[in-house]
C-alpha cells in the first residue's frame, strides 16, 4: 500500500462519513437553519468525492450549482421567512415518523442488497481527467441536445412563473396591498393571483 493509495482511501472514508452523518443531520435536526447549512457541507463533500474520481469539472460544477446557487437560495428563503412562531402540533406525528422511518429503512435495505448482489465491473472505466470538459461539451451539443434544450425550456418556464408571481403590483390593486397588514391575511382573503387587468 503506497502513500497515494492510502491518502485516497483516507479521503474517501472521511468524505463518506461526512456525507452520511451530514445527511442524517439535515433530516433529523430540529433547527431548520442548521439543516440548510449542513446541506451545503454535504454538497461540498459530494464534490470532494467527484474530485477523488478524477472528475474535477463535475466537482467544480457541483460546487457552483449546488453550493453556490441551490443552497444559497434555500438559505435565503429560510432567512426571509424565519419568523419565530411555533408550528402547530400535528396529529399523529409519531406514527407518521415511524412510517417514514420504515419506508427509508426499507429503501436502504433494498439499495444495500442491489449493491451487494450486482457484479461490479472492476476496475471500472479509466477516467479521462482533463479532457472531460471537452467531452461534456461535445455530448451536450450532439446526442444530448434534446434533453439539454428541454431542461433550458423548463428553467425558462420556472423563471417566467417566478416573475409573474412576484409582480404583485400588476395583480392586486394598491388599496388591497395597503389594506393588508401582512402576507398571511393576503392568503386568507383569497385574492385571485391574476387580476383581469394583467391578463389583457
Amino acid at each position: 500500500m503506497n502513500i497515494a493509495y492510502s491518502t485516497e482511501l483516507i479521503c474517501f472514508l472521511i468524505l463518506s462519513s461526512v456525507i452520511v452523518s451530514g445527511s442524517l443531520a439535515v433530516v433529523l435536526l430540529e433547527n431548520i437553519v442548521y439543516s440548510a447549512f449542513i446541506l451545503g457541507g454535504v454538497f461540498m463533500a459530494v464534490a470532494g468525492l467527484y474530485l477523488l474520481l478524477n472528475a474535477s469539472f463535475v466537482a467544480a460544477a457541483q460546487i457552483l450549482v449546488y453550493v453556490g446557487a441551490v443552497n444559497v437560495l434555500i438559505l435565503f428563503a429560510i432567512m426571509l421567512v424565519n419568523n419565530k412562531e411555533k408550528l402547530k402540533p400535528i396529529e399523529g406525528l409519531k406514527t407518521r415518523k415511524l412510517i417514514s422511518g420504515g419506508v427509508c429503512g426499507g429503501l436502504l435495505i433494498l439499495l444495500l442488497r442491489v449493491s451487494i448482489t450486482t457484479k461490479w465491473n472492476l476496475p471500472g472505466p479509466s477516467s479521462i481527467g482533463e479532457e472531460a470538459t471537452e467531452r461534456i461539451g461535445e455530448h451536450l451539443f450532439t446526442d444530448y441536445l434534446l434533453p439539454f434544450e428541454l431542461a433550458s425550456i423548463l428553467l425558462l418556464m420556472a423563471m417566467i412563473g417566478a416573475i409573474v408571481l412576484a409582480r404583485r403590483d400588476v395583480l392586486i390593486s394598491i388599496d388591497d396591498i395597503n389594506d393588508l397588514k401582512n402576507q398571511k391575511s393576503l392568503s386568507d382573503k383569497k385574492i385571485p393571483l391574476l387580476s383581469e387587468k394583467s391578463l389583457k
Binding site: G40, F57, G68, V72
Partner: protein, 372 residues
C-alpha cells in the same frame, strides 16, 4: 518548456540523497509552494492596506500614517498585531458555532483560489485543467459564510448586511462568469497558463484587453462588486447598517473578514491582469532578449531573469489595478441597493450576453485573430 531549472526535481533529489523515499520527498515538496503563495498573499494584503491608507490620505489632502516605520510602512503590521491581541467577543445571544465558522468560510475559498494564479510559465501551485472555472466555483461558496455570520450574530443589521452581501455576490457572479466565458472561448482553454500564453504571441498588442474591451469593463465592475469595494460596499454601508454582517465581530474574527476582503481584492486584480493584461508577459519577448546577449533560453541565468521579469510584471499590473480600485473607492459615492441590482441584472447581464454572442461570431468570422 521542460528543460531549464526544475526546482521540484532538484528538491526531491536533494531530499532523496538524505535517504528518504521518493514519495516522502514528494510529500515534503507539496506544502512548500503553498506556503510561499500564502505568505505572498498576506504580504500583498499588508502592502495593499498601506497603499489604501496612504492613497486615501493623499486623496483627502492628509498625510496618513507616518510614524510606524519609514512613511508608515509598518502601520498595517501594527494594525494586525492590535487585532491579534484584542479580546475575542461572542455576543451572549449569538449562535457561537455558526458565529465562528462564518468568517472561516469567507476566508478559505479566497485563499484556495490562489491555487490557479500564475506568476510565470511554471510558477504556480497547480496548473489545473479547469483553472478559471475553479475560481468561479470557489467564489460561490463565500455567500454562505456571509449569510452564516449575518444570521448567527442575532442582530438585525448583521442579518440585513449578510442578505445584501449574498444577493450582491450572486447577482454579480453571472456577468462575471459570462465575461470570463468570452475569454475562455477565445483561448480555447480554461487553464490560466494557456490563457496567458495565448496573449503573449505579439507583445502587448495581443493582450485580451484590445479584443475584449467590453468584457474587461464588465469583469472589473463585477470584481469590485464581488470584493464589496466602494462604490459597491452596500453590505457594510456605515450609515445604514452600522457595519453589515461584521457588526458584532471583534478581534481575530473581524480580522479574518478584513483579510478576506483584501486578499480577494489582490486576487481579483491578479486575475484581471491574467485574463486581460497578458499576465506575466513582458512587452519584449524573452527569446529575442536571450539571442541578443548570446545565451540559450535554457541557460540558468536567462531563466532566472525571465522568471523575475514575469513575477515583477504580474505584480506590477495587479498593483496598478489595486491603485485604480483604491482611487475609485475614495472618489466615487456609494450606489443604492436598487441601483446596484438594476446595474447587475438590467445592464451588465444583457451586455455580457451580447459580448459573448459577438465574441462567438467574431471567432467564427476571423478565426486568426480571435482564436479559431
Amino acid at each position: 518548456m521542460n528543460s531549464g531549472i526544475d526546482l521540484e526535481m532538484s528538491f526531491t533529489q536533494g531530499v532523496q540523497n538524505l535517504g528518504l523515499s521518493q514519495e516522502l520527498a514528494h510529500l515534503l515538496w507539496i506544502p512548500l509552494p503553498m506556503l510561499l503563495v500564502l505568505v505572498s498573499a498576506v504580504i500583498g494584503v499588508l502592502v495593499t492596506v498601506w497603499l489604501e491608507r496612504k492613497i486615501s490620505a493623499a486623496a483627502q489632502q492628509r498625510i496618513g500614517p507616518e510614524y510606524a516605520g519609514a512613511l508608515g510602512i509598518l502601520q498595517p503590521m501594527a494594525d494586525g498585531l492590535k487585532l491579534l491581541v484584542k479580546e475575542d467577543i461572542i455576543p451572549a445571544r449569538a449562535d457561537s458555532v455558526l458565529f465562528t465558522v462564518g468568517p472561516i468560510l469567507v476566508l478559505v475559498p479566497v485563499i484556495l483560489s490562489w491555487l490557479i494564479v500564475p506568476f510565470g510559465q511554471n510558477l504556480l501551485i497547480s496548473n489545473v485543467g479547469i483553472g478559471i472555472f475553479l475560481w468561479i466555483a470557489l467564489s460561490s461558496i463565500q455567500p454562505i459564510g456571509l449569510l452564516m455570520s449575518g444570521y448567527s450574530s442575532n442582530n438585525k443589521y448583521s442579518l440585513l448586511g449578510g442578505l445584501r452581501a449574498a444577493a450582491q455576490s450572486i447577482s454579480y457572479e453571472i456577468p462575471l462568469a459570462l465575461a470570463v466565458l468570452a475569454i475562455v472561448m477565445m483561448s480555447n482553454s480554461l487553464s490560466t497558463v494557456d490563457i496567458v500564453e495565448q496573449q503573449n504571441t505579439a507583445g502587448f498588442l495581443s493582450w485580451n484587453i484590445w479584443r475584449q474591451p467590453v468584457g474587461f469593463i464588465i469583469f472589473w465592475i463585477c470584481a469590485l462588486a464581488e470584493c464589496e469595494r466602494l462604490p459597491f460596499d452596500l453590505p457594510e454601508a456605515e450609515e445604514e447598517l452600522v457595519a453589515g454582517y461584521q457588526t458584532e465581530y471583534a478581534g481575530m474574527k473581524f480580522a479574518l473578514f478584513y483579510l478576506a476582503g483584501y486578499i480577494n481584492l489582490v486576487l481579483s486584480a491578479l486575475l484581471v491582469s491574467v485574463l486581460y493584461l497578458g499576465g506575466w508577459g513582458f512587452p519584449i519577448s524573452i527569446d529575442w532578449f536571450s539571442s541578443l546577449i548570446g545565451l540559450s533560453i535554457d541557460n540558468p541565468l536567462v531563466q532566472i531573469i525571465a522568471a523575475s521579469i514575469g513575477i515583477v510584471m504580474t505584480i506590477l499590473k495587479a498593483y496598478l489595478l489595486v491603485f485604480l480600485a483604491i482611487l475609485l473607492r475614495w472618489t466615487t459615492p456609494r450606489v443604492r441597493i436598487d441601483q446596484l441590482l438594476d446595474l447587475g441584472w438590467k445592464f451588465l447581464l444583457p451586455i455580457s450576453l451580447v459580448n459573448l454572442l459577438v465574441t462567438a461570431s467574431l471567432k467564427l468570422a476571423f478565426p486568426m485573430t480571435f482564436g479559431g
